[in-house]
């Protein structure tokens, strides 16, 4: 019984994964391509899919140029220092100069944005953040995407990108399966905008059992943005730059509004301020250019997120935990108390549940904080993702190859977590990137770049066999054993995920080893991942739900491999507090002030690593400083 094949032909723009990036792409594509065929393929239901499914209580990327608050370059400098210099400033500038128009549209569409009663301006949480009542953020942007798209295919797990059989290195669509019906879906398309997500659950989580679902990034963020693009042979960048989050313990409730709006602060188990005592040592590791508490005190310059993590980790390791968030003062104000709770209900309900269950009322006691397991993504305080072209009017030659947000595969575009080097885009910036990618994709088609695409029957049939193989394997070997899950001939997706998490944790700098790794450990990691890849050929799925988990695992595995290759390549500790290279414990600007770029050869599975130059946006003032320094 072979699955039914359903072909959707003549698509101009296929949006693979419709979170904030994908919905932005589908929406905008209709304006520049009014006669084009726009199709969305999404593994869940676009009304509640992606990282914003649950809602948000803040939009973390808004310039406020209309009120003279910030210019795009201010945001670039902020993201640059937060990521220890390693960002794509062309892409960041481009996102920042357009993001306000996205947010103003959201307000038009009905997204409740809080206002400052005195000024009438958007209520600021911090310099870049504005506060919203965003329970329905995702349904609202999904509505916009549905108005623009010709067809929305929900519950399609996209497993592979299709490549043109006529011209090398050109996109031709994507394939996947319907998680409900089990049908095989083929999308033949002139362009693909990859809006798929980053990766949770590739490093062993701190929680065990049921609590493993309470990861910081959504459990359905399966690294598919990376799995899809790496497997097709796209170049990736900054994949070593995983992120560790300092959050409320166990529930991983957000701390942004607490720090910025409620003015709460942290202290160690003895009630002391602890951060500053770690700064001199840290300054020795990373240099004064990256950590200068005095300058940070005087100006808007932030202490990089990873370095604040480092202080917290070190303080706990020194035996002075737990770290507390001091909420008791702020929560005496009923308005601030309401903001504190609604912040969770709007985006991390689980934290409210946990506090209710443990009788933690932040009015009466200061809740605990912890640092999470690492995550791989590209839109928060980290910039993993694909190596994408920038806009023609900003990007230097090394960063530009024809179309904004196009990857190194022709006709493959990206938005959100898929684009590397663009941290701090968050929800609004990801949607904006989708819009930019959509305009460029329409231009690519109008320029005739997608003419004459051929997809062979062989490619389609080969993928079909590959996709459904785990179900076939289950049928073949299930009766070899009496019952249960222990088989000598297959592993199930959950068993595979456990193995992946354990080896990434222990060898690639997870939480149980204090985020520490080195060259020897990373080489073992690669070896184990390679053997695991062989076992992934023996994955068994007893039903369509397990088949979904099987493909998520394959995407997570490929993401992990790429992360390990990049971590091995960058021989320095660039982000103490995210991870440490024990054999190179210092930041090394002389050799590593570069972006790391990788490509996996789809034929051989071999990785090629290279260094790409890091360009910075320079204003007059910095230019003068640089000259003076020389």
């Amino acid at each position: 019984m072979s699955p039914k094949t359903i072909v959707e032909d003549d698509i101009d723009i296929l949006v693979a994964g419709a979170g904030l990036g994908g919905t932005g792409a589908a929406w905008e594509a209709r304006f520049w391509g009014q006669d084009k065929k726009i199709v969305i393929a999404e593994k869940a239901n676009i009304d509640r899919s992606g990282a914003v499914a649950q809602g948000l209580y803040a939009i973390n990327c808004y310039m406020g140029t209309r009120w003279g608050e910030n210019n795009p370059e201010d945001h670039v400098r902020y993201a640059r220092i937060d990521l220890m210099g390693m960002v794509r400033e062309d892409l960041l500038f481009d996102m920042a100069r357009h993001v306000d128009s996205t947010v103003h549209q959201f307000e038009d569409w009905g997204l409740p944005i809080m206002k400052d009663p005195k000024t009438g301006q958007y209520l600021r949480e911090g310099r870049w953040q504005i506060m919203i009542h965003g329970e329905s953020y995702k349904p609202i942007v999904a509505e916009a995407a549905k108005k623009s798209a010709d067809k929305v295919f929900n519950r399609i797990c996209v497993t592979h990108l299709l490549l043109d059989d006529a011209k090398e290195n050109r996109i031709a669509g994507a394939v996947g399966f319907n998680v409900r019906t089990g049908d095989y879906h083929v999308f033949k398309s002139k362009t693909v905008i990859c809006g798929a997500g980053g990766a949770s659950n590739i490093f062993k989580p701190r929680s065990v059992g049921e609590g493993a679902g309470r990861v910081w990034y959504a459990p359905w963020s399966s690294g598919s943005a990376y799995g899809l693009m790496i497997n097709a042979g796209a170049k990736m960048t900054q994949m070593e730059n995983r992120i560790v989050l300092a959050r409320f313990k166990d529930g991983y409730g957000p701390v942004g509004a607490y720090f910025l709006h409620l003015k709460t602060y942290t202290q160690n188990g003895m009630g002391e301020e602890y951060e500053s005592k770690w700064f001199p040592g840290l300054q020795e590791m990373v240099g004064k250019e990256y950590l200068d508490p005095e300058v940070s005190h005087r100006t808007h310059r932030p202490i990089p997120t990873c370095l604040r993590n480092h202080a917290m980790i070190s303080e706990v390791n020194a035996g002075r935990g737990p770290i507390h968030m001091v909420t008791m003062k702020a929560f005496q104000d009923p308005h601030l108390e309401e903001v504190g709770w609604e912040n969770f209900l709007g985006m991390t309900v689980g934290q409210a549940v946990l506090w209710a269950a443990t009788d933690v009322d932040p009015k009466n006691e200061n809740p605990e904080l912890t640092t999470s397991e690492p995550y791989v993504m590209g839109s928060h305080a980290t910039g993993c993702g694909g190596w994408a072209s920038g806009p023609e009017d900003v990007s230097p030659p090394e960063y530009f190859w024809g179309y904004n947000r196009m990857m190194t595969i022709e006709g493959l575009f990206g938005a959100g977590d898929a684009v590397g080097g663009t941290p701090h885009a968050f929800s609004s910036g990801s949607f904006t990137e989708g819009r930019l990618a959509a305009k460029a994709a329409c231009k690519y088609i109008d320029d005739g770049k997608a003419n004459g695409i051929v997809v062979s029957e062989k490619q389609i049939e080969d993928r079909k066999k590959e996709i459904f193989a785990p179900m076939e394997r289950y049928r073949t070997y299930r009766n070899e054993i009496v019952a249960g899950t222990v088989s000598p001939s297959y592993i199930n997706p959950k068993q595979g995920l456990d193995r992946l998490q354990k080896l990434m944790d222990e060898y690639c700098g997870g939480v149980t080893v204090g985020y520490m790794t080195n060259e020897k450990l990373l080489n073992i990691c690669l070896k184990k991942l390679k053997v695991m890849e062989e076992d992934l050929e023996c994955l068994a799925a007893k039903d369509l739900h397990e088949l979904l988990r099987a493909w998520e695992l394959k995407h997570r595995h490929r993401t992990s491999e790429c992360v390990t290759q990049h971590t091995l390549f960058r021989k320095e500790t660039r982000w103490p507090g995210y991870y440490y290279r024990g054999d190179a414990m210092k930041l090394d600007d002389e050799n590593w002030h570069v972006l790391t770029v990788s490509r996996r050869d789809p034929e051989t599975g071999e990785y090629t690593m290279e260094k790409a130059p890091c360009y910075h946006l320079i204003g007059e003032e910095e230019e003068n400083q640089a000259i003076a320094a020389e």
């Binding site: 520049w32 609590g211 309470r214 209900l345 689980g350 443990t358 900003v394 910075h616 946006l617």
Partner: protein, 159 residues
């Protein structure tokens, strides 16, 4: 807190199955009602709880760190444009919250771009997105460029 479904309230309508981002709300073949098939892949996002017309779905804190005896209930009213929450602590403390979820009638203010005036060649060649430059600053100001902001891109370390 993984979700669970009350046997006496669920009528097996499948709204939760349809909306769950993690594909873990399924219909039990024997009881013909929904249940959570994979609690450790549940994010407690409450999408199913909000979508259930029978209020049959609730959440119970993750067993590995949350003690019993609490509840967080929600009611999302699309027509009213509000969401209301009731939190009950293990010790009996209760807190209630009410927030707007939209300021406009659902979907009416999102334009259909197929019917918008078609973009000109100039617009296509510019850096503008739909509704720009107007929507960037809500005035006649132009989109920022390196030139307009007195910037350059330079290779190497400059700080």
């Amino acid at each position: 807190m993984p979700t669970f479904v009350y046997m006496t309230r669920c009528d097996g309508c499948g709204h939760c199955v349809d909306i769950c981002p993690s594909d873990i709300m399924h219909i039990d073949k024997v009881n013909r009602r929904a249940y959570n098939i994979e609690p450790d892949m549940c994010w407690e996002c409450y999408s199913c709880v909000k979508a259930c017309p029978q209020n049959a779905i609730d959440a119970r804190g993750y067993a590995d760190f949350a003690p019993l005896g609490h509840s967080v209930r929600v009611r999302r009213e699309e027509e009213k444009g509000t969401i209301s929450w009731r939190i009950k602590f293990r010790n009996g403390t209760e807190k209630n919250f009410l927030s707007p979820i939209t300021t406009k009638p659902w979907g009416e203010y999102i334009p259909k771009l197929k019917d918008a005036a078609a973009p000109t060649k100039d617009m296509r060649d510019s850096q503008h997105l739909y509704s720009e430059p107007k929507y960037i600053r809500m005035d006649e100001g132009e989109v920022h460029t390196l030139e307009s902001n007195g910037l350059k891109m330079k290779k190497g370390v400059y700080y």
